[in-house]
């Protein structure tokens, strides 16, 4: 079979990180090629290289499309050749109609005046092709996610797509919509369109894919042919996670006590779409001195769970109870949650964790100004003293505690956020992706801080998308998928394969 796309030894580096390392990928004309891998394995980066989001000179390696070497400078270059990428977060304008969205930036026009007849006629034709029974003038914002996905595909078709890239297209779809979408992919395949499908759902991949490429740690591990005989899921999972664990984690002697923190029957709905349930009947417990992990894919609802517990910072129609030392506590506002000794260290340091142009000392004291003030007047000497203590304890590398946090590295910013919450002397510490965007050296330091906290008797609930990190640090691991707890493992019996298959199985059962 003819090869339509050939990517050779693609290497892409970000400051301090090799995101892609000598990746080769070859896609045959007319096939559906699945790409699987863990969060952060490099799948999206590879697709961004392919579509020109990262322009030609920013990576090394070669791309050949339809036999010709290509040097894309931007998305426009790749789109002209018919390489269209549909991102997980859809790029549609909700206030515009289906027709307007499909032809946005590409309107059939004469002297700048849009030919609406043609727009609507072609939209109707495209909608028929993707099987979407909606009027072209319907606003995209009024459509569900599944139908929006179809509009995106119609938009791709309008650009004479030859290679369609779908990034997690079914992640937010229900089963019927997912099936319809997969059916459509097969239909497009019959029309000669090649697709690359990025997905975590191995059962869906098994339904449609001709070949599977596994990416792990920025490297293409293996390409498997599954057109004739299906490949066992276990084998794929093993290839996805198969990596050796070394002592990247500080040694711990867990001293685990009684149950301190407990969440029972926790439900929450989406803040913008209150009819959509995001968290379904969650139960969890954390004991004194225990580090408990929550594993799951992006969008599993882990951050939503943490934030909804932390003073209802997320979600609507929240139901359920939080117990501390066996007594129900009121955590309905953030200050009450803090008052009960709960702290939440956000995954989004810059957006939710820090006031970036403020200095280190001011960021650390923010949730506890009362503790460095008397009668509402801040004692700056004390404030600086507190900041200095944490600077020393957590080894925050900075010129001084009056340095704005915006100039610090990711790891040091994370330490400032940790300091901020340690200063509120919490009993329960919820850490959301505590090492995201942190370099390897600083990771170890952050792990040490976390172990230290557990040793001091605090309850640590740690959300992470890096499974090795959870396995390396936690005493117990919960697995979440699509808003529910789907599994729980003690550290001794947990493995990446078990966690991944719990997720995959939960996703398939639906």
């Amino acid at each position: 079979m003819e090869t339509i796309l050939e990517m050779r030894s693609i290497t892409k580096e970000f400051p301090g990180v090799v995101a892609l390392n000598q990746v080769n990928l070859s896609v045959r004309a007319g096939e559906i090629h699945a790409i699987v891998g863990e969060n952060g394995a490099g799948k999206s980066t590879l697709m961004k290289v392919l579509s020109g989001v990262y322009p030609h000179h920013s990576y090394s390696g070669e791309i050949a499309f339809a036999g010709q070497p290509q040097k894309f400078r931007d998305i426009g270059d790749s789109e002209r050749l018919g390489i269209i990428i549909i991102h997980q977060e859809l790029a549609l304008v909700p206030q515009l109609s289906i027709a307007e969205n499909i032809f946005l930036g590409n309107e059939p026009s004469r002297h700048g005046i849009i030919d609406w007849h043609q727009v609507y006629a072609r939209t109707r034709q495209l909608l028929q092709q993707v099987g979407l029974k909606e009027s072209p003038s319907t606003l995209v914002g009024d459509l569900g996610v599944g139908k929006q996905q179809l509009v995106e595909i119609a938009k791709a078709l309008s650009k004479n797509v030859r290679l369609l890239i779908l990034d997690e297209p079914t992640a937010s779809l229900n089963e019927t919509d997912s099936d319809a979408l997969l059916e459509l992919l097969l239909e497009l395949q019959r029309e000669g369109i090649t697709s690359i499908l990025i997905s975590h759902k191995l059962n869906e991949i098994a339904k449609v894919a001709d070949r599977i490429t596994v990416i792990r740690d920025g490297m293409a591990i293996e390409t498997m042919d599954c057109a004739d005989a299906p490949i066992p899921e276990n084998r794929v999972i093993q290839r996805m996670v198969g990596r050796e664990m070394s002592d990247r984690y500080p040694p711990r002697q867990p001293a685990i006590g009684d149950i301190v923190f407990e969440v029972r029957n926790w439900h929450a709905n989406h803040p913008q779409h209150p009819e959509r349930q995001v968290l379904k009947d969650i139960n969890l417990q954390v004991r004194r001195g225990e580090i408990v992990g929550i594993a799951g894919l992006m969008g599993a609802g882990r951050t939503e769970l943490a934030m909804s517990i932390f003073g209802r910072a997320y979600g609507k129609r929240i139901r359920g109870d939080v117990y501390l030392h066996g007594a129900a506590v009121d955590v309905s506002t953030i200050s009450k949650a803090i008052g009960h000794g709960i702290a939440y260290v956000t995954e989004d340091r810059k957006g939710l964790g820090l006031v970036l142009h403020d200095d280190i000392a001011r960021n650390i004291s923010l949730p506890n100004l009362a503790r460095v003030a008397r009668g509402g007047v801040i004692d700056r000497t004390r404030e600086t003293g507190v900041a200095r203590d944490y600077r020393e304890k957590l080894r925050i590398r900075c010129a001084g505690v009056t340095q704005p946090v915006v100039n610090l590295s990711g790891g040091n910013q994370q330490k400032v956020v940790l300091s901020k919450w340690l200063f509120s002397q919490p009993e329960v510490l919820i850490l959301d992706e505590p090492t995201r965007g942190v370099d390897v050296g600083a990771k170890y330091e952050i792990y040490s801080i976390i172990s230290q906290l557990a040793a001091e008797g605090k309850c640590v609930l740690m959300i992470s998308s890096e499974m090795p990190e959870l396995l390396g640090m936690c005493d117990r691991i919960y697995v979440m998928n699509e808003g529910s707890m789907v599994a729980e493992f003690a550290a001794a019996e947990a493995s990446q394969e078990k966690i991944m298959s719990a997720i995959v199985r939960a996703g398939s059962e639906k």
């Binding site: 953030i334 939710l352 964790g353 820090l354 403020d358 923010l366 949730p367 801040i378 010129a399």
Partner: protein, 398 residues
């Protein structure tokens, strides 16, 4: 031990100064621009600008802008804007006139009622901004129209006055003197000297405390040059004012308010929280701070100070007119932005806003003396605003 020196290799003195200057460029630049602008008009008006009579006028004309700029700074730092302050000030002036002139309500009671009315107006606007998340631009644009209209209704389209004499003293009175003399008012001069001395002592004390705890401070020469210059200016101006009728009452009110707001923004938890709110609202909320209530109170505060400014203005004119307060919001907002406040919130200083207000005031006054028409005055003020912010943005990006 100084933090800065502890971790960085020691820097040569010259480099240290330039580094400090670069980081604090804005504050010095503002202050120097005001001095330069004053010197310019002093020369151009052949000395009229700093004549005792004119200086007194300058203070009186600017007082209500400065008063509103203090509260506006907090609103802007919190990430909002208030377009209604001019109309609110005008409306409160009208309310004061109706109460005192038409109904003979005692001055003190009427004043308290007016300030309360300002608080209620601020609360109403703050309620929609904070609890219903309607952009402050829209809420206060509506308020601007509403209170302009209500002022007209209250006054029936007419001017109303004169006010009781004691109320007039708010703006046109001067502090009482022990020894009365026509040529020089020694009490005023003495008060000015005392204020200068107190400020100097306070600054020295603070500097000593900061140095003791190793916080970054300006180099010694800088500190003394700046503090002595400030003291000299205060003494010089009180001397000038003492040569006319002494220190105006409203200057005392204004100075106390400046000191209060300087303290609130720099030293109190509530001030700190407003800066954090404007800097990153979500992070502030996740730090357990009730950001809605804080926004609400920021607007209440704005309402009260707009009311006070309205009273000061009415007392100065000695009548309430339907046109009072027209366009004040522009000068007030411009003062804050010239003073270095950021339109996206989280950044801005009280002293910056005060200096900004005086830059606007000196330009208004100086250009009027020079006989420049109101048309060109607006053009020039507009360009100065743009230039000030442009320089700011330019240096920030550099």
């Amino acid at each position: 031990m100084n933090d800065h020196i502890a971790t960085l290799p020691p820097t040569p003195a010259g480099k240290k100064y330039s580094g400090f200057l670069r980081r604090n460029f804005r504050e010095y630049a503002m202050f120097l621009s005001l001095l330069v602008i004053m010197a310019f008009f002093q020369v151009q008006t052949e000395g009229t600008l700093l004549m005792p009579l004119n200086l007194t006028n300058l203070v009186l004309q600017n007082s209500y802008i400065v008063i509103m700029a203090l509260a506006m700074l907090l609103v802007i730092v919190a990430g909002h804007i208030d377009l209604s302050v001019g109309s609110v000030a005008g409306f409160i002036g009208a309310l004061a006139a109706v109460l005192m002139v038409q109904h003979g309500v005692p001055v003190l009671l009427a004043t308290v009622l007016c300030l309360l009315a300002g608080a209620v107006i601020g609360a109403a606007q703050g309620y929609f901004v904070a609890y219903h998340r309607i952009p402050s631009f829209i809420v206060t644009l509506a308020g601007m129209l509403v209170f302009k209209g209500l002022a007209l209704t209250l006054l029936d389209g007419q001017s109303l006055g004169p006010f009781p004499e004691i109320f007039q003293k708010l703006s046109s009175g001067f502090i009482p003197e022990v020894i009365d003399s026509d040529s020089l008012h020694p009490g005023s001069l003495l008060l000015g000297c005392l204020a200068a001395g107190a400020l100097l002592l306070l600054a020295m004390k603070q500097r000593a405390a900061h140095l003791r705890h190793g916080m970054e401070e300006e180099p010694t020469q800088f500190f003394w040059a700046k503090q002595l210059l400030i003291s000299a200016i205060i003494v010089f101006f009180s001397y000038k004012l003492a040569a006319y009728k002494g220190l105006p009452n409203v200057l005392i009110i204004m100075s106390l308010l400046i000191a209060l707001y300087q303290f609130i923004t720099n030293r109190t938890t509530i001030g700190r929280r407003i800066y954090a709110l404007g800097g990153n609202e979500k992070a502030t909320r996740l730090s357990g701070i009730n950001t809605r209530r804080l926004t609400f109170y920021t607007f209440v505060n704005m309402g009260v100070l707009a009311a006070l400014a309205g009273l000061v203005f009415a007392a100065r004119l000695n009548t309430a007119t339907p046109k009072a307060g027209l366009g004040f919001e522009l000068d007030v907002i411009a003062a804050c932005f010239i003073g270095g406040a950021s339109a996206s919130g989280g950044v801005g200083k009280v002293m910056g806003a005060v200096i900004g207000a005086f830059i606007m005031g000196v330009m208004n006054n100086g250009m009027s003396i020079l006989g420049i028409g109101i048309d060109y005055q607006q053009v020039i003020k507009g360009l100065v605003l743009l230039a000030a912010v442009w320089v700011d943005v330019y240096y920030k990006n550099k």
